[in-house]
Symmetry: C2
Subunit: 519 residues, 2 copies
């Protein structure tokens, strides 16, 4: 052990190991058992600590950061209940395959036998959302544990790694900085998979179903060359973690959320070639509706699994097919400012007409349907981040992390009202960090999707008592008040003209803004 | 199977079983997989559905309801992420030993094989907070499962029972109403325990440490008779689930939260007689501080474990000791309205001077320290509900449930600012249900307790970066705006006169109010 290691506490070793491994942002909700990590911030200036007011914000922000940066952020959480509050957005991160490191403080080892009020089974809670879980068992090992956590998070396709650190290991000296993890390359796709895909695309009615890393420009370009050469259709996951789209990029069609629409989209296909995506399944199971929307007899051919080098596989496939023409791309749309009443169409037009170049769009406004995707197809190119795991309250936190990872890139958070209320504490962090996040909140005064779902599952719900459980009125939350209470500049748009004006103002003036769009 | 059972769905059978078993309030955050429970509300009018905007509100409200009503409420949650959002307050409910039934919807059985986005291991998440977990496996069994869940929740000392119901079992017909669970009596304490306590109290310096059911009037009265006859001290848990106190009731001293104060309180004791309470331990482990604050050599004698009939045991002990004098009780205080500057002392005086008769006080203002308990010792009698498990964000939801269980009893929620931000969605439910909850929010612009904890764990934190992680400024949330945004009447008190006036107004005018007290 070196002289340095003898004075290094576990907390400081963890922080230094993270920084050496490229993990230099920590979203945190610390408590007593994490105070030494907090104290270490002043001795490890390369680590940026970002305070959140609820753990679901910390984990969601780490998800947004990882999706844009391609490397993990850390989320520092307080014991079992702190982790519990962060689980929903860790679930979304797991589904997004985001590289993310969760550090959870635990009671000091000598204290755990006493079953103090905050004692709980942290590892059990971490299991369902984590690809890797470890509890540090010695001060000297904390640095190596931190390095192993980063390595696990970065192992393709990426995932959530959770490290549990007892408080006495954080505060005790004698720790050592962990060696940075080695590179974790993508797995190569074998030639047989490529040949099989070539045959399928040449001989059957096929579609490429893209997911994960295939949804960025290189993958989309190769896929679009293949589609142009073979007539195959280009589809992508319903809820992609990160999709590059807009003018100048190849367009790809997302599989619809609603089972009946997904079934229509996939009708007539003989083969689905999976490229970093899983076989399509409906979001929920319904009476008398198959869970698989693909037609009976449609064969799935796996070109690349998640974690495989999907881009290389697509390029090899394009070459094998002799697809030499450049990929067709979406043309720039003729975007004009809408005027008059605010409805779904004018709302979408306003979003498209004002979208800045190189924006990051965080979409948790699932009820906005198809209008916005259609309107923004020819908008300036942007990254689209969606609700990968279905656990609501993902948008505002992901916007925090995306804004920090994106540097000067503007962030637009399209946000449903009911979901916003889950994690609106994120607005405070947006204000504190001065992030350029514009939140457009669609106030439809209801869990709109649930009215649809109520009928879809065959529930007889003419009754007023049932409907009251799906309605956000009486009182209607005042989102402008709520946003101002958290430190945002906030306004309300009742017309398309209002919305365009408020959007332009929000993109121009630094710091976070919220616009409530009353549809 | 009767004719009725053939048309009864699983969801309806569950609701009817609950109502028959006395579970007639359901706090809910439903999603697609729970739509049939929502639809059933119109066919089971005896079940009161209460919508919450975040699962932590539903579970915390069910905790507050159970503490006051002494019988379970149900919390209806959506899949794994919905349960995850409710876990922190289920952790508190577990520590409070509150009878509570959690119903979690799961994907339809035929859909689970497809690993759809919201799929996760619900039972694994439920385990750490639940004394009982079951996944229904047949439609015909859902009613019996519901009955078993209620029985498990009611089994002394009370606990969290979690029932997971796949959506197809909810929507399918062929279910049957479960038979209501039988009585679950408390366990009798054996004579040996009583005799041992008698000997200890007669021969050693002793204290009774009361917890659970011993903290209501009958237990307190018997304990106070014992204390008067023997000179034993009366102590209670640091964070009781429900403590009856105020003028006319025997007074009991809570063990201090801070280890150094708890050590002082327990100094000199030879025997601690545990009555429904666990041995005292510090909340956290600290360097160079023992986890047990009781003096070395102090013997613990268990008179009654949680779940034992503590009141009968105390009465038997009082008789065995020949303690025939009536119990001394706290006299009514001479409470006068404070005036002038708002500080800790005048704040406490204002709370005491205005407290209505028979109030329920939900205290999550842990930084208010000893002033409020001292000032309210002679206030009109009230129930005190505290943060049993240390998972913050407990106060506003528990106030919801306590208000519904309490009927026309006024509820006062003393609330720390940082903790309020965890579950402020509860204010909306308070507004929607028209609950007489008065929230007094102590705005100290910081996680005040953490500044203390930072030094207590020996963390060197002179640094500005560390301190920034413990400070709720830049921006300071505007709680009046936030409360109004959720539909509350809200105001700000900067003087003691303001606070008295706003408190009296809040208690007089129906519906929920928030008062931000700027100390």
């Amino acid at each position: 052990m070196s002289d340095e290691s003898e004075v290094l506490t576990g907390a400081e070793a963890l922080m230094r190991t993270f920084v050496d491994a490229g993990v230099d942002v920590c979203f945190m909700n610390p408590g007593t058992s994490e105070m030494h990590f907090v104290a270490a911030l002043d001795r490890v200036p390369a680590m940026r600590g970002v305070l959140t007011l609820f753990e679901g914000v910390a984990t969601g922000a780490a998800d947004g950061f990882g999706r844009i940066a391609g490397r993990p952020a850390a989320a520092l959480l307080h014991l079992g209940p702190g982790l519990a509050n962060g689980l929903a957005n860790l679930h979304n991160a797991r589904r997004a395959r985001t590289p993310l490191v969760t550090v959870v403080g635990e009671h000091a080892t000598f204290h755990q036998q006493f079953d103090a009020p905050l004692q709980s089974d942290i590892a059990a809670l971490a299991g369902p959302v984590s690809g890797w879980v470890r509890t540090s068992s010695s001060v000297v090992g904390v640095g190596a544990d931190a390095s192993a956590a980063v390595e696990a998070a970065l192992t393709p396709p990426g995932g959530v790694a959770t490290l549990i650190v007892p408080a006495d290991l954080s505060w005790s000296p004698g720790a050592a900085i962990g060696r940075p993890p080695g590179p974790r390359p993508l797995l190569s796709v074998d030639a047989m998979s490529v040949t099989g895909a070539t045959t399928a695309l040449r001989t059957t009615k096929s579609a490429l179903l893209l997911g994960g890393a295939a949804l960025r420009e290189p993958g989309l370009t190769a896929a679009a060359r293949i589609a142009a050469a073979t007539g195959a259709r280009l589809l992508c996951e319903t809820f992609p973690a990160r999709l590059e789209r807009g003018a100048g990029l190849p367009a790809v069609e997302r599989i619809a959320y609603l089972p009946e629409l997904a079934t229509q989209q996939l009708a007539g296909l003989d083969t689905l070639v999976l490229v970093g995506a899983a076989e399509p399944v409906t979001f929920f199971g319904y009476p008398d509706t198959p869970s698989r929307p693909a037609p009976t007899g449609c064969v799935t051919h796996v070109l690349a699994r998640p974690g495989d080098d999907a881009v290389a596989a697509l390029e090899a496939l394009a070459d094998d097919l002799g697809a030499r023409d450049p990929a067709p791309v979406a043309p720039a749309g003729s975007l004009t400012d809408p005027t008059g009443a605010l409805d779904v169409t004018s709302f979408a037009a306003a979003i498209a007409a004002t979208l800045p170049e190189n924006a990051i769009v965080v979409d948790e406004a699932n009820t906005s349907g198809v209008a916005v995707p259609a309107a923004t197809a020819g908008a300036p190119r942007h990254d689209l981040l969606t609700l990968t795991g279905g656990a609501i309250g993902q948008g505002p936190p992901v916007a925090v992390g995306a804004a920090i990872a994106g540097g000067d890139r503007p962030v637009l958070n399209l946000q449903a009202d009911g979901s916003a209320l889950y994690t609106m504490q994120a607005w405070w962090t947006q204000a504190r960090e001065g992030l350029n996040v514009t939140t457009v909140l669609l106030n439809n005064r209801a869990y709109a999707i649930l009215h649809h779902e109520l009928s879809k599952v065959g529930a007889v719900a003419g009754g007023t008592r049932a409907k009251a459980m799906l309605t956000l009125t009486d009182p209607t939350p005042d989102y402008v008040h709520l946003a101002r209470g958290m430190g945002l500049t906030a306004g309300r748009a009742r017309t398309a003209d209002d919305l365009v004006k408020l959007l332009r103002h929000a993109y121009t003036e630094p710091g976070p803004h919220l616009i409530e769009a009353v549809l």
